[in-house]
Amino acid sequence: MKKAAPAAKAERAAKPEWQLRLYVAGQTAKSAAALANLRRLCETHLAGRYEIELVDLLVNPKLAAGDQILAVPTLVRKFPEPIRKIIGDLSNEERVLVGLDVKPIP
């Protein structure tokens, strides 16, 4: 789990602006790829403004229903709202950015 420095103001009690949650099922090649892709992308475009929570459904199966997880890996954008979901290993950076609605830093 990676935490970045809090955003400028005390808005949302020191929670970063971007809260992401990645659901995986065990240590598979797909989940490892998804996590690596996500980290790289966040560092590039959201440096210091994001938080990633990793949920392994094999460990916590009951969490799957809460976020309506069906496919793994699934990336859920909890904040900013509305909730968005991106499924797959996040290999296509452009589509992930569109899915998260992040304006890429050129």
Partner: protein, 514 residues
């Protein structure tokens, strides 16, 4: 037709899991294939979800097999509300940890796909639900919704194949529902993956009245009924009405019931009709069908028996008033609770719906006599092929309960076609009374004859039938010079002291021969 073939030495017949749905277990010879998935196909509003829900509820309540209901379209509250109309309390069952409900929502607009994925999330959720209630039964309603939620159908198909395999490996008896497709059985060809048992539900509207039908398309390794069977979603679940499963094995009571018309009893071997038999009273308009029905109801009540009367022409109070005019007071029996009158328009519901209503009422009220006045109104259109099987099922149901059934039937006034129009249903009846109008010499006489009456000696004479102030009565055939006299001519002859009622006449003739 689906008679169980004796188990072959080579292999045991496949194990079945009873659905608990009336009739379906009969058609499938015991239920759905245990430990395998069954596909239930049908268009929208066919009752797929209801069937699946009943399968789960009955499993949990009657067979000690807990279940998981995973749905992709409705949410848990909607499902609970829907099945509550069938008298099932899903909330209670979930609280008791007998049923687990999981709503899988797939929102196309929320989901972006990038790269490889699998549906392990779904597997984990299902496994978790199964684990939580130790389930033996699983319903996936309607998993096809995933096809519109996910873009990558290649992945989806591979995962579904894996899912059904996975269910089989875990020994889950499963129902997978699917929307009917245009070219294929289901829209996305689920039948490719679920091939053990396929049930097709259909909803048809004929003459503005809808009927649901069920058919077992295939059932690997098991004999099954192949016909289409009407089914109903009633107040206490689904009931399939398997026409061909009717066995003629009901007991026949020997007890006889007077009809309340002494002379009619006389015609029927002197004792009336058998308990639990079916009586058809057919006749032209105004011949007194309802009156005979009412008279039988009246005499049954007078013996302290319970009577259920279905009126499809008159309202309850109109019927009571009209019968009072001929001296049959039905009102006192309704007050006493011995008589229940259900009046409704026959076009209100389809035949099957009427049937289920009758079933429910008969089950609740436990009558000794049921009067349906008239059945001809139930088959509104003449080519209604449904009337006969419906009646057959009703009669069979009543016979099994030793309930005597009286049906009146309206037919045209012309003699020849009269018998013809009744041919369809008359074979189902044990006793058939035919009422007709005899018109001659400027007056109309009502006559009654016993066309048939199984299992008893019965008169083959046509009797004159009159309404009095105290009910209906029959008048012995009056013969003068070998002429049967009725109405005024009979009265005239009687006044003149000519002729004799037939009992005497016969005796006189015999005497003359000597």
């Amino acid at each position: 037709m689906y008679k169980k073939t004796p188990a072959k030495k080579r292999g045991e017949p496949i194990a079945k899991a009873a659905t608990g749905i009336d009739g379906l277990d009969q058609i499938t010879d015991g239920g759905l294939p245990r430990g395998r998935p069954t596909l239930v196909v049908g268009g929208p509003g066919c009752g797929k979800t209801m069937l699946a829900a009943e399968f789960i509820v009955q499993g949990a309540t009657r067979y000690g097999e807990n279940g998981v209901f995973m749905m992709f379209e409705e949410n848990a509250e909607e499902l609970a509300a829907n099945v509550r109309s069938l008298g099932f309390d899903l909330d209670a069952l979930t609280r008791q940890k007998k049923v687990a409900i999981d709503h899988v929502r797939v929102e196309r607009s929320e989901i972006e796909e990038t790269g490889l994925y699998d549906l392990d999330g779904l597997f984990i959720r299902l496994a978790y639900s199964i684990e939580s209630v130790q389930a033996k039964r699983v319903v996936l309603d309607t998993i096809e919704a995933l096809f519109s939620g996910l873009d990558n159908h290649a992945v989806l198909r591979a995962e579904l194949r894996r899912l059904f395999r996975w269910l089989k490996d875990r020994g889950m008896t499963a129902i997978i529902t699917g929307e009917r497709g245009a070219a294929t059985l289901t829209r996305y060809g689920l039948e490719e993956y679920v091939a053990d048992c396929v049930i097709d539900l259909d909803h048809r509207v004929t003459d503005q009245i809808s009927t649901r039908r069920l058919r077992v398309v295939k059932y690997r390794g098991s004999p099954h009924g192949t016909n289409e069977y009407p089914f109903l979603i009633g107040g206490d679940g689904i009931s399939v009405l398997p026409i061909t499963s009717l066995r003629l094995d009901h007991e026949a009571p020997a007890e006889r019931l007077p009809t309340g018309i002494a002379k009619l009893d006389e015609m029927l071997g002197g004792k009336g009709v058998y308990r639990g038999s079916s009586v058809l009273i057919s006749g032209a308009p105004g011949t007194g069908k309802s009156s005979i029905g009412a008279s039988m109801a009246d005499s049954a009540c007078a013996r302290g028996e319970r009577v259920l009367l279905f009126a499809y022409e008159e309202s309850a109070s109109q019927l009571v008033r009209n019968m009072k005019s001929i001296g049959i007071d039905l009102g006192r029996w309704t007050k006493k609770g011995l008589l229940q009158i259900h009046a409704s328009r026959p076009t209100l519901q389809g035949l099957e719906q009427h049937l289920v209503l009758m079933y429910d009422e008969v089950r609740d009220f436990a009558p000794d006599l049921v009067v349906v006045d008239p059945i001809s109104n139930l088959g509104v259109s003449h080519e209604d092929a449904g009337l006969r099987p419906t009646l057959m099922r009703l009669i069979d149901f009543l016979k099994q309960r030793h309930v005597t059934a009286v049906f009146t039937s309206l037919v045209g006034d012309s003699g020849a076609s009269l018998a013809e129009t009744q041919v369809g249903v008359s074979s189902l009846m044990d006793t058939w009374l035919l009422l007709s109008n005899l018109e001659s010499n400027g007056e109309r006489t009502r006559t009654l004859q016993v066309v048939k009456s199984r299992g008893m000696a019965h008169s083959n004479q046509v009797r004159e039938f009159v309404f009095g102030d105290d009910g209906v009565d029959l008048i012995d055939v009056y013969v003068d010079d070998d002429l049967v006299l009725t109405g005024r001519r009979r009265l005239g002859a009687q006044r003149l002291g000519r002729g004799a009622s037939v009992a005497m006449a016969g005796a006189a003739r015999r005497r003359a021969k000597r």
